[in-house]
């Protein structure tokens, strides 16, 4: 496995993108990942401030009408290779707000999503498992 892939998987910088229509529980669970008990910095992952630094975009919330175009522009700015992770039932399949008038289209109709982490909210362990699977997918061995 060449050095490039190894480097990418060993230091995955994460950017949190909340597309509106979320009950901020997944976002609290993402912040839980930084706290002492689940500390993801030991895997080399860091929450970064700008989408240009990010390798992985954590998408939470079911897309509201208002934030549709902004999500596209943010995604285009991310430096490739970039991975999109959908966190929580709302991002994976619009969850409980599916037939709401304000959240018509699911997230994966706008962004190419690589890993779906279901759960409402997904447990921090589930998120870490999701990222382990993502690394498995990137490095080719299942």
């Amino acid at each position: 496995m060449n050095l490039k892939l190894k480097a990418l998987t060993k230091s995955l910088w994460v950017y949190h993108l909340c597309v509106g229509g979320s009950c901020n529980n997944c976002d609290i669970e993402i912040l839980d990942l930084l706290t002492p008990r689940f500390d993801i910095e030991r895997f080399g992952m860091m929450l970064v401030g700008s989408v240009k630094h990010a390798d992985a975009i954590l998408v939470t919330g079911s897309l509201t009408l208002k934030s549709l175009e902004r999500v596209k522009t943010v995604y285009e700015q991310a430096a490739k290779p970039c991975v999109v992770i959908a966190i929580g039932a709302c991002a994976c399949g619009q969850g409980i707000f599916a037939n709401g008038p304000n959240t018509p289209n699911p997230v994966d109709s706008v962004l190419p999503i690589d890993i779906y982490i279901p759960g409402c909210p997904p447990k921090p362990e589930a998120m870490i498992l999701g990222i382990v699977k993502l690394i498995g997918k990137l490095t080719g061995k299942k």
């Binding site: 509106g20 009950c23 901020n24 008990r37 902004r70 409980i96 037939n99």
Partner: protein, 390 residues
């Protein structure tokens, strides 16, 4: 700064759904404040009309991630009021325990964030570290860290097992010394006291004018608490007292929340001790025509649910009012006259959903040009702590 307009991009590392405060500032002091909400409006009331009564409990649970059992609590109270029934004893006790456990985890979460806004990141890490045992208790008795899906019209969905009680009691008792540490950290730390005392004060008259609820009102000496005024679930079978403080400032609100931690623990321990046997739900055949009002004292204040049913399978109308709806409006009075660096902690004192304070923006009163954004305010308040400490 050059006359660049600073875009407040909605995508920011720490924020969740955005409410939006725009402070009109004259130099350092805040002169006026615009409050805009609705960025995250999911039209839950519209969706509720298309769901059956039982499904609405799951929808209503996902209104707010932090107090995710308050809304089902009030909703099921409303249905019980509509039907005129009261769930069995054991279900009432289980409901009280879940409600109080959530108050602990929500207050600890707020404590961590207040520490973060004042510049004490270690307080943030510690508060959220001691919140984990509470989430473990939740995971053990309800199966999930939040969104517990415990409530059902006419009772509770899952039963507690006797052999869990000793473990829950041990974990809760282990938290009490940690609460003492936080009480010490907040009450005796001269810098936090200096930073939060006397700012963002709401007088008793303000509490009436803005009809604020929860710790925001209790911090100004107004002892309104739905658990005492209209006892529901097992709150009248357990003796506890309503915490009020006078002063009405941010410090009083912090004190009220910390003392409520102790009160909630002692309620839970009492409920665990004298939990009666028996079944945990009534089966409800059909919903009569009529309307029902249900209330619950959520960590942030009184949650109010109103249901109107025409005998059909889903509610005709389901009005939901979160406590922050009233508390956020009261910021208009609390923030005016204070400096910008205090603005963040005043807005956070109402414990609105986490992101409101991140979205504050400061517009220069004369030029109307955006001068600082939410994050500057967080830093300003952190510096003020720094100045105080020196």
């Amino acid at each position: 700064m050059a006359n660049k307009i600073i875009p407040i991009g909605p995508y920011h590392p720490l924020q969740e759904e955005p409410e939006f405060f725009r402070l009109h500032v004259d130099g350092e002091t805040v002169v006026d404040i615009d409050i805009e909400i609705g960025y995250n409006h999911r039209m839950i009331e519209k969706i509720a009309e298309s769901k059956s009564y039982d499904q609405v409990t799951f929808l209503v649970e996902r209104i707010c991630g932090i107090c995710s059992t308050s809304h089902p609590f009030a909703y099921t109270n409303a249905i019980d009021d509509l039907l005129g029934v009261t769930p069995p004893e054991r279900a009432l006790y289980i409901r009280t325990i879940v409600g109080e456990l959530e108050r602990i985890h929500s207050h600890l979460l707020w404590l961590g964030l207040a520490g973060h806004f004042l510049g004490y990141n270690t307080v943030w890490m510690w508060a959220w570290r001691y919140r984990e045992p509470v989430l473990d208790i939740f995971e053990r008795i309800t199966g999930n860290r939040n969104h517990y899906a415990m409530f059902k019209p006419g009772g509770v969905r899952r039963d507690f097992y006797e052999e869990d009680f000793p473990w829950i009691k041990k974990t809760l008792k282990s938290l009490i010394p940690k609460f003492d540490m936080f009480k010490g950290a907040v009450m005796d730390d001269p810098i936090i006291r200096a930073r939060t005392e006397g700012i963002g004060v709401l007088t008793r008259q303000d509490v009436y004018d803005y009809s604020v609820v929860g710790p925001t009102a209790r911090a100004s000496g107004v002892g309104i608490d739905v658990r005492k005024d209209e006892p529901y679930a097992a709150y009248d079978k357990v003796e506890w007292k309503v915490i009020t403080a006078d002063g009405g400032g941010v410090f009083a609100k912090a004190v009220v929340r910390i003392l409520e931690l102790y009160e909630s623990t002692n309620i839970i321990l009492q409920c665990l001790d004298n939990m009666p046997k028996g079944d945990i739900e009534l089966n409800i055949k059909d919903m009569p025509v009529g309307e029902g009002i249900g209330r619950h004292e959520a960590p942030r204040g009184e949650v109010f649910h109103y249901i109107m049913s025409d005998g059909g399978n889903s509610p005709v109308r389901h009005k939901i009012r979160a406590p922050s709806f009233m508390n956020i409006a009261s910021n208009k009075k609390a923030v005016i006259g204070h400096t910008i660096s205090d603005a963040t902690i005043i807005l956070a004192a109402v414990d609105p959903c986490y992101c409101c304070t991140e979205r504050t923006a400061v517009v220069d009163y004369k030029t109307g040009k955006k001068v600082m954004d939410g994050q500057d305010l967080v830093r300003l308040s952190q510096e003020k702590t720094e100045r105080m400490r020196r």
